[in-house]
């Protein structure tokens, strides 16, 4: 019989007294479990957030944001060129800090970075102490053994050439950095035309501008020329400096 099995099972179940749960107890226990789960979830979420935040803090903390720059390996000058003494840029790179007249500067230790630009081959920055300004160029990675070509201020700009070595550098290329000042007040748009004819826009901040350009100019070698132009709103662009 089709129903025989069902009947047998029904009889077996019927033989037991009906199950009557304590509904109030169930509801109370259910509420408690839900509350506990919420608390557990909140704690787990908070813990996860704390772990992530901690990891982020540690990771961010490894980035040196201090005004006092770390000491980089000393550079042994090998060039025959007469140059200012090399100071120590951050990150184990090599480089040069000079004042506007081209004399050596310990600008790496100065507390204030006015502005900087960077690319694959390094960074150019303007640093400030209470009374002085330093124009700095770094070359990181394997750096440049001949890292210095003096670049004092002339015709209103500090022009510097540095090596472009390692990490995708093309043979016969170098980095040209152009530093300068802009008049007080509303800053102009500053463009720099390098020797290869390329015109790029400089970064301007707090009365200074910096521009970096990797161009085909064998290193070491003569410093290529550059033309700096200012453009104020509503006025024609003009050549501010040329060297």
């Amino acid at each position: 019989m089709t129903n025989q099995l069902k009947d047998l099972m029904t009889e077996a179940a019927d033989a037991q007294a009906p199950y009557v749960p304590d509904v109030d107890l169930l509801v109370r226990t259910g509420r408690k479990q839900v509350r506990r789960r919420r608390v557990t979830t909140a704690i787990a979420t908070a813990a996860a957030v704390a772990v992530i935040a901690g990891a982020t803090t540690i990771a961010v903390g490894t980035i040196d944001r201090s005004e006092n720059l770390p000491v980089a390996p000393a550079v042994t000058p090998t060039s025959q060129v007469t140059r200012p003494e090399i100071s120590a840029p951050p990150g184990g790179s090599t480089g040069l800090c000079t004042t506007a007249d081209g004399s050596a500067s310990d600008g790496w230790l100065w507390p204030k970075v006015v502005l900087y630009v960077q690319d694959t081959f390094g960074m150019s920055m303007v640093r400030r102490s209470k009374s002085n300004i330093a124009f700095c160029t770094t070359e990181w990675g394997n750096g440049a053994k001949l890292s210095v070509v003096p670049g004092g201020a002339k015709a209103g700009i500090v022009l510097r050439k540095s090596a472009a070595e390692g990490r995708g550098a093309k043979p016969g290329s170098s980095v040209t950095t152009v530093f300068g000042t802009v008049p007080a007040g509303t800053p102009p748009r500053v463009t720099v035309e390098t020797a290869d004819g390329y015109v790029g826009v400089a970064k301007v901040k707090d009365g200074y501008f910096v521009y970096r350009r990797v161009e085909h100019s064998p290193w070491p070698g003569p410093i290529p020329h550059a033309i700096v132009r200012f453009k104020y709103a509503g006025k024609a662009e003009y050549v501010a400096a040329s060297r």
Partner: protein, 174 residues
């Protein structure tokens, strides 16, 4: 959970708890264990009640969790323990009951107890709860083909069980 949903939950428990317990009892053959499994299932149901209350499918979910809780409870026990156990049914025999009814009851519960749990669940869900193959597969979390094969094997074993020799279970296969 808001008060309306909670009162619906209370009503559901009042009306369905015994049915859930009966399924659990046939699956494990032990009143206390069935009560534990049913209670656990009802608590799981409480935790998900707001969502179930909105989306529906409460009965199906309740059946699924009670089966799951019962089978989980069995797995936690010693693997050497026979579900229910011969002594259990002897102890539960009601002396006031008619001899015939008591015997029939013992027959099926003992026969079910000797089935593997998946086969037992298929038999209980298909022939006690009157679920279709697809519904049974949904409850057990397996494919309909598995339900069919497990049910066939279970019925074969039940047919060969000495205490069920007098019953004609062959028709159930059709």
């Amino acid at each position: 959970m808001d008060s309306e949903a909670e009162s619906e939950y209370t009503a559901f428990v009042t009306h369905h708890a015994n049915a859930m317990w009966r399924t659990a009892y046939l699956l494990c053959g032990d009143r206390r264990r069935a009560e534990d499994a049913t209670q656990e299932a009802l608590l799981r149901l409480y935790r998900r009640w707001p969502r179930l209350y909105r989306k529906g499918g409460i009965v199906a979910y309740a059946r699924k969790v009670v089966v799951s809780a019962t089978l989980d409870g069995l797995r936690r026990r010693s693997s050497t323990e026979l579900v229910g156990g011969a002594t259990y049914f002897t102890a539960e025999a009601d002396p006031t009951d008619h001899v015939g009814r008591a015997e029939r009851r013992l027959v099926i519960t003992q026969a079910l107890a000797e089935l593997p749990e998946r086969q037992r669940a298929c038999v209980v869900l298909r022939y006690f709860d009157d679920l279709s193959v697809d519904e049974t597969a949904d409850v057990l979390g397996c494919r309909p083909g598995t339900v069919k094969s497990q049910t066939m094997r279970a019925l074969d074993k039940l047919q060969l069980h000495p205490t069920l020799a007098d019953f004609n279970l062959a028709e159930l296969k059709n």
